[in-house]
């Protein structure tokens, strides 16, 4: 179908190209705009309840998605024992609800706090709504179409692989119910929005802090490089 081609072939290719190209451009040429735009200084009570649950819930679930995509066999192996399957599904659902509560508080905070409104851009709202849809549809799918952790691996891993191989196999996702399709399309839109929004802070998570030296000193007078330069120029 034409719609499936648009949403599951054209949209993801555009979205990921944008994310990569604009993301790199922005990090190099507009580094000042790359920030997580914290508003904790202005409001902290609602942020405490919203931000922590949202981030920890969502990050874990995202990593789980990524894991299932890359190592589907191990997930299927784990799920081969029913009790383990229930455990996994329940944990996933609980984390989803945790993140959902978080995003609801964050949305409420955006609209109820005058000071937060003062720093809210339209893009902030777009991001919050997209994330809200994503988590809501995710929770609904987890409860309506069991057991996601198993069927996800047999449908989406091959689909993603076919996309990577530039031989998209849209037949895999075409028969899915509209709710699942919405979840996926919404994700692609988020990917497209990613480089233009505060979402870009995801890729600046400072792992280097674990090993960098405590203190950083920088010479302004780069005597050595200056000498190198002048000898290279034959001066």
């Amino acid at each position: 179908m034409i719609w499936d081609t648009i949403f599951f072939i054209i949209l993801p290719y555009i979205a990921f190209s944008l994310a990569i190209a604009v993301g790199i451009y922005r990090s190099i040429y507009r580094p000042f705009t790359v920030t997580s735009l914290s508003s904790q200084l202005l409001e902290r009570k609602k942020l405490y309840w919203g931000s922590i649950s949202f981030h920890y819930g969502l990050v874990t679930i995202l990593l789980a998605h990524l894991y299932a995509l890359t190592l589907p066999k191990s997930v299927l192996w784990w799920n081969s024992v029913p009790i383990r399957l229930y455990l996994l599904e329940l944990t996933g659902l609980a984390l989803g609800i945790f993140a959902f509560v978080g995003i609801c508080i964050l949305l409420w905070r955006r609209f109820s706090e005058k000071r937060v409104q003062a720093v809210t851009t339209p893009m902030d709202i777009v991001v919050l709504v997209l994330v809200f849809i994503s988590i809501l549809t995710g929770i609904l799918i987890a409860s309506l179409y069991r057991f996601g952790s198993s069927w996800f691996t047999v449908i989406f891993t091959p689909y993603i692989l076919s996309m990577f191989a530039f031989k998209p196999n849209v037949g895999l996702v075409a028969p899915l119910p509209w709710l699942i399709k919405l979840h996926v399309i919404n994700f692609f839109i988020m990917v497209a929005v990613f480089p233009f929004s505060r979402l870009i802070h995801i890729f600046t998570y400072p792992f280097q802090y674990l090993y960098r030296p405590w203190q950083i000193v920088i010479w302004n007078r780069k005597v050595k490089s200056a000498k190198k330069l002048s000898s290279a120029q034959g001066k």
Binding site: R30, P31, F32, T33, V34, T35, S36, L37, S38, S39, Q40, L41, L42, E43, R44, L47, Y48, S51, I52, F54, H55, Y56, K114, R115, Q117, A118, V119, T121, M123, F196, S197, R198, I200, H201, T204, Y205, P206, F207, Q208, Y209, L210, R212, W214, Q215, I216, V217, I218, W219, N220, R221, K222, V223, S225, A226, L229, S230
Partner: protein, 502 residues
């Protein structure tokens, strides 16, 4: 030995009149922008008092600085992993109300109000939301004690004073306060820098200025909590950290910093200190009692041939070495031992120094009349010998400037008193008697030193107060560009406005 140079400022608290000219000069130059309204890179506090942001010295709450556990120096704020876990929400970060809700007034009301019986007024509005607001506090709400004892007695530095002293300080005829101007201390072991997960903060080697690279700052805001002096601020509009830059564009062009330049009391001095980077951070890894001594020992004698040789080996120009020899900072900190760092127990090794204030003489009320507590002829010597009678308790000054160590404060106050007594006898009586000379001796000083202290304290000219070396920026530019081409290009380029990212 690894010799580096540092631009340092001396604050002579005995001279500060609390006029806030310095704060205004700084504000007009650097922080008169959206998102920065509430920032005062330079602020002046009344002490005793709670300061700005309110009770910033309460490190139990704000978790600033370093903790020395006998083996390791740890950030009070977080471990490395702990820091990464707290990026989403950082409990010790002060909220805007710990500073104040920045306000302005709706001046247009004065022009647009309809004709009426009353004078129109300009109502206060918040600079964040633009909504009308009630002003509840400000950056100097407790200026001159704020007309009440409520603020002063919440000063964290008073907590360790004996109850009797505190009660005594509240009595009307005993009430005393002094001013404490504060800028970023451009520390040798900055906690803000160590706490930044992105590594966006750095210290310039050539003059020690600590700067935030705005392009690398990712709004993780750990520096704001980690700085024990609360001198890194969060711009709520751009989502980036900002701090005092020691007016480096002014220093690089041979001008004193805006705060120092505009200082009405002429309390500020600027000069180069040479220090030994090899001693860092061990200097901060000693017990509280040894901190001041260790701190002084990092600062090197710029006349020592060995120091000069290794300074040259490190690429420090001769003009900087001469500048360090003339430096008022060197004289006050090292030569005369009069200046101390603010709260050395935070172990960031701050590089701005304070000369503690002298106290007014104690008075008593007798038959409803004020009378000095000492006889006229004994006045000078009495206070000199009875420092514990000083209206500003020595212990209080020690809590501010020497980690509670009174023995670091006493010699300074005694030397300053000796200077005052000596100069009074010299200029009023015209002769110096043996008693005064014995007193100088007692204070560990001599007539030459005292005269030099007097001269630099009371009447330095611009060049003596601000000894600013040549920065030779052209040699730095050579590293990436032809200096002449660079000069010709000035003004032609593109600047991206600091707008809030998407």
């Amino acid at each position: 030995m690894n010799v580096r140079a540092h631009m340092s400022m001396i604050f002579h608290l005995d001279k500060c009149i609390g006029c806030h000219t310095c704060s205004i000069a700084c504000k007009n130059l650097w922080t008169d922008r959206k998102g920065a309204e509430y920032m005062w890179w330079n602020n002046v506090e009344t002490r005793p008092g709670t300061g700005y942001p309110t009770q910033w010295e309460d490190q139990e709450r704000f978790k600033g600085g370093w903790v020395w556990d006998g083996k390791k120096l740890n950030l009070r704020l977080h471990s490395r992993l702990g820091g990464l876990m707290k990026l989403f929400y950082n409990p010790p970060l002060p909220k805007i109300d710990d500073y104040y809700d920045p306000f302005t007034f709706q001046y247009s009301d004065l022009f647009n109000a309809p004709l009426g019986d009353d004078q129109p007024t300009a109502i206060p509005i918040s600079q964040i939301t633009g909504e009308p607001m009630e002003i509840k506090t400000g950056p100097n709400w407790d200026d001159d004690l704020g007309g009440s004892s409520t603020y002063a007695w919440n000063d964290p530095n008073l907590s360790q004073l004996p109850e009797s002293v505190r009660i005594q300080m509240q009595e009307l005829e005993q009430i005393v306060f002094n001013y404490l101007p504060r800028i970023c201390n451009h520390c040798l072991n900055p906690a803000c820098l160590a706490a930044c997960p992105s590594g966006a903060i750095y210290k310039r080697v050539e003059d020690g200025v600590v700067l935030v690279n705005e392009n690398k700052c990712r709004s993780w805001r750990m520096c704001i909590a980690a700085c024990p002096y609360k001198k890194v601020y969060f711009n709520w509009s751009t989502g980036k950290s900002e701090k005092c830059i020691l007016c480096f564009p002014r220093l690089e062009t041979g001008q004193a910093t805006a705060c120092a330049h505009s200082c009405v009391g002429r309390i500020r001095y600027l000069g180069v200190l040479l220090y030994d980077a090899d001693l860092l951070p061990q200097t901060a890894m000693v017990s509280d009692e040894q901190l001041i001594e260790a701190h002084r020992s990092v600062i090197l004698d710029p006349f020592d041939p060995e120091v000069i040789a290794s300074a040259r080996a490190n690429g420090i120009e001769d003009s900087w070495i001469t500048s360090a020899q003339d430096s008022p900072a060197y004289k006050f900190v090292k030569l005369w031992g009069l200046a101390l760092p603010l709260h050395p127990e935070y172990r960031t090794i701050p590089m701005m120094f304070y000369i503690p204030p002298l106290s007014p003489i104690v008075s008593v009320i007798e038959e409803d009349l004020y009378r000095l507590d000492v006889s006229d002829e004994m006045r000078d010597f009495e206070l000199f010998d009875r420092l514990d009678k000083a209206r500003i308790p020595i212990k209080y000054l020690a809590n501010l400037f020497s980690a509670g160590n009174e023995s670091a404060i006493r010699p300074i106050i005694r030397k300053m008193l000796a200077t005052r007594i000596y100069m009074r006898h010299k200029s009023v009586d015209g002769v110096i008697d043996d008693k005064t000379l014995a007193l100088l001796n007692d204070a560990g000083t001599n007539p030459e030193e005292v005269e030099a202290i007097y001269k630099l304290t009371t009447m330095p000219n611009y060049k003596e107060a601000f000894v600013i070396p040549e920065y030779h920026r052209e040699t730095a530019i050579e590293a990436w560009d032809d200096p002449l081409a660079h000069k010709g290009d000035t003004g032609f380029g593109f600047i991206q406005p600091p707008h809030r990212g998407g």
